[in-house]
Point group: none
């Protein structure tokens, strides 16, 4: 896989009354270096109560990888079914949203619900993709390392004091 540009860092941005959120500039720059789209793909995260996000170029890459995997394995009914399921999740359960000239997306209502996002969105780079959390939801999750919760708390404080 080895993508040279990786998503990294954290930021806490507001979701405004219209449902708009700024994608942090340092994440946008990775999206644009990986491909030339000004668009991100949103999906429910498989393990955490948050959203997973990436660029269209990465989505295409992931799809190609699935295809190759299918061709290698003999077409047992099991492998075939699993492929169909993964394909559904990868495409039907995702939404591609463009960001405007000021770097904002309109958070789709369904994704907002799936990710339990309210009026604050915590962005966390995770290398090949990034995550979008409701910061309060992250603080409550026992699977999240304390050091990361410190970061969430720092971002919350930073916002309060300014």
């Amino acid at each position: 896989m080895a993508l040279e540009h990786l998503f990294q860092g954290s930021a806490l941005n507001a979701v405004d009354a219209k449902g708009r959120v700024s994608i942090p500039a340092f994440l946008r720059s990775v999206v644009e270096r990986r491909g030339d789209a000004r668009t991100i793909v949103l999906a429910k995260h498989e393990a955490f109560p948050c959203l997973s996000a990436y660029d269209p170029a990465y989505a295409a890459l992931k799809h190609a990888k699935l295809e190759r995997l299918l061709e290698k394995e003999e077409t047992s009914p099991d492998a075939e079914l699993e492929y169909q399921q993964r394909n559904l999740m990868a495409f039907a359960a995702t939404e591609e949203v463009p960001y405007d000239s000021s770097g904002r997306i309109l958070m789709p209502p369904m994704m907002r619900r799936k990710g339990e996002i309210e009026d604050l969105a915590l962005f966390l780079g995770t290398g090949e993709t990034f995550q979008i959390w409701n910061p309060q939801r992250l603080l409550k999750d026992p699977r999240i390392p304390d050091d990361l919760k410190d970061i969430a708390n720092f971002r919350l404080e930073e916002r309060r004091t300014s």
Copy 2:
């Protein structure tokens, strides 16, 4: 891993009112020989109350290593969660900052707090990475060898007398 260019040496630089710090030229030259980025990655050190720093090429290498590890292990739920946690720490808990034409970075407020950095930053090369300390914090740490504290003291005196 075996990177041929290693970070070594020490320097004490000022953090100015805007939060800017010069990365010592001898460390920058290693960054630029390892890859062509004029950027460093900052993270809280796992063991010491200071920051750990390296170049993006090293970060990518570390990431690739993690990926390979995942592919080897069977995908038990435990291994999966541990992978997610490590990925979060490696990317969300770090910040990539570019340095300008004069070799300065803007120390991100979160890292400044995590590394307990005030108005002086002590740079210490440690081979594959380097560390950034609050010199006073280093002098107080019982785990630091006296010889290293001598170096910190020397750098502090050097600054006072000039």
